[in-house]
Symmetry: C2
Subunit: 218 residues, 2 copies
DNA sequence: GTCTATAACACGATAGAC
DNA sequence: GTCTATCGTGTTATAGAC
C-alpha cells in the first residue's frame, strides 16, 4: 500500500515528469499529433518508460488530462462551498457563485511562462470530442456543473433550471475565450492587448464577473 | 479566365467534393489526425486527386478552412453594414450590432444533420494554434473584428477600445460555447437539453443577445 | 526500473499507365 | 483528370539486455 516513495521530494519521479511533460505537449501539439518520443524527450526519459508506467498512449492521455484538470474543479467546489457556508442558511449572492466558477479558471491555469495549458487542453477536448476524453470530462466536470447550477437555482429561484444552465454555459464560454486569447501561443487580436501586462488577473476576474452577473440579471 | 465549368450544376466537381469532405473530416477527427485517405474515401475519389487539385495536405487545409469560415464572416459584415445604413447617421443600437455578430454564427453553422462543423473547426483552430491555420484565421477574422469593435465604439463612445474588445471577446466565447454544446457529437451536459428540440435557434439568438447586451451595459 | 533495437503498421507524396 | 502501386518516413508497441 505504501511504496518507498519520496512524496515531498524536490525531484519528481519519472512517472510525474512524464505526466507534466505530457500535459504540455498535448496542449502544444494536440493529443493526436503529440508523439510519445516528444513527451519522453521533454521528460528526460525514454520511449519504453511510458508503456512501463502507463501501459499505452491512451492510458497516459487519461492520466495526464485528469491530473491537469482536477485541481481547478477541486478549487471551484471548495470556493463554492466556502461562500455557501458563509451565507447559510441564506442563499449566497450571485456574484460570489460566479466568482467561485471563474476565479480558479483564471488563477490556477497559468504556468510560469504565462501559458494556459489546462485552457488549451479544455478547448481541445471540446473541439475534438472522443469517447476516451469525453469520459475524463464527464468524470471531472459533471458533478461540478450540477453543484453550480443548484447554487444558481438558490440564488435565482424564479428562473428555470434550463435557463440557468444556458447562462452558466455562456459564462464558461466567455471565460474560456479570453483565457485562450491570453495564452502566449494564441494569435494576437486587434485592440485586445491580452498578452501584455495591460490586463492583470484581478482586473480580468472583475470584468468577467461583472459581465456574467449582468447577463444573468438580464 | 472562365473555365468550362457548370457553376450551378447539381453534381459538384471533384474539387468541390474534396473540399466538403475535408471540412467534415477535419471537424470530426482534427486537422492533424485526419488522413487524406479518409477524406478521399468520403469524397468518392482517390488519394492522388488531392495532390493533383491542391498540391499537398497543407494546401488542402488552408482551402477547406477558408471555404468553411468565409461565408459566416461575409454574412456578419453584410448584416452589420445593413444595420448601420438603417440608422445612419446615428449610431446603430447595441443590440443590433450584437445580433449581427451572433445570428450568422447560429444560423449558418448548422448542417442538415444538426452538426456544427464550422464551430468545431473554429474551436479547434483556437485550441491548437499553428502558423498555417493562424494565417487563415487572420485573413478571415481580423478585419471583421476591427469593424465590429469600431461599431461598438460608436454605440458606446464613453467606453475604452480595450474594454469593448474585451467584452466583444466574452460575447464570441459565450456563443461558441453553447453552439459547441449543441453539436450532436458533443458530450451532453446536465440540465442543458441542447441537442433536443427544447431550444430553437431564434430563442437561442434572443438569449445570447440579451445576455451579451446586459454584459456590455454592466 | 531503465534503455536499445526492432517489429508491424499507417501516413503523405509521387511515378506512371490510362 | 483519374486511378493503382509503391517509396520513404514516422509512428506505437514490444522484446530483451542491463
Amino acid at each position: 500500500m505504501n511504496p518507498p516513495r519520496h512524496e515531498t521530494a524536490k525531484t519528481p519521479s519519472t512517472k510525474e515528469r512524464i505526466l507534466a511533460a505530457a500535459a504540455r505537449v498535448f496542449a502544444d501539439k494536440g493529443v493526436d499529433a503529440a508523439t510519445l518520443r516528444e513527451i519522453t524527450d521533454a521528460a528526460g526519459t525514454n520511449l519504453a518508460s511510458v508503456n512501463y508506467h502507463f501501459g499505452s498512449k491512451d492510458e497516459l492521455v487519461v492520466a495526464a488530462l485528469t491530473a491537469c484538470l482536477r485541481p481547478i474543479n477541486q478549487a471551484r467546489l471548495r470556493q463554492l462551498e466556502a461562500c455557501r457556508d458563509r451565507h447559510a442558511p441564506a442563499p449566497p449572492p450571485l456574484c460570489d457563485v460566479v466568482e467561485a466558477l471563474i476565479r480558479p479558471m483564471v488563477t490556477l491555469t497559468r504556468g510560469l511562462d504565462g501559458s494556459r495549458i489546462p485552457i488549451r487542453i479544455l478547448l481541445q477536448l471540446r473541439s475534438l470530442p472522443r469517447p476516451e476524453t469525453n469520459a475524463v470530462m464527464a468524470a471531472e466536470f459533471d458533478q461540478v456543473h450540477e453543484r453550480f447550477i443548484e447554487a444558481l437555482q438558490e440564488c435565482r429561484p424564479t428562473m428555470t433550471r434550463q435557463q440557468l444552465a444556458l447562462r452558466y454555459d455562456f459564462a464558461r464560454g466567455a471565460a474560456m475565450q479570453i483565457l485562450g486569447d491570453m495564452d502566449p501561443l494564441a494569435r494576437e487580436l486587434p485592440n485586445l492587448q491580452a498578452h501584455d501586462a495591460g490586463l492583470d488577473e484581478e482586473q480580468l476576474i472583475e470584468q468577467l464577473v461583472s459581465f456574467v452577473v449582468a447577463g444573468f440579471n438580464a
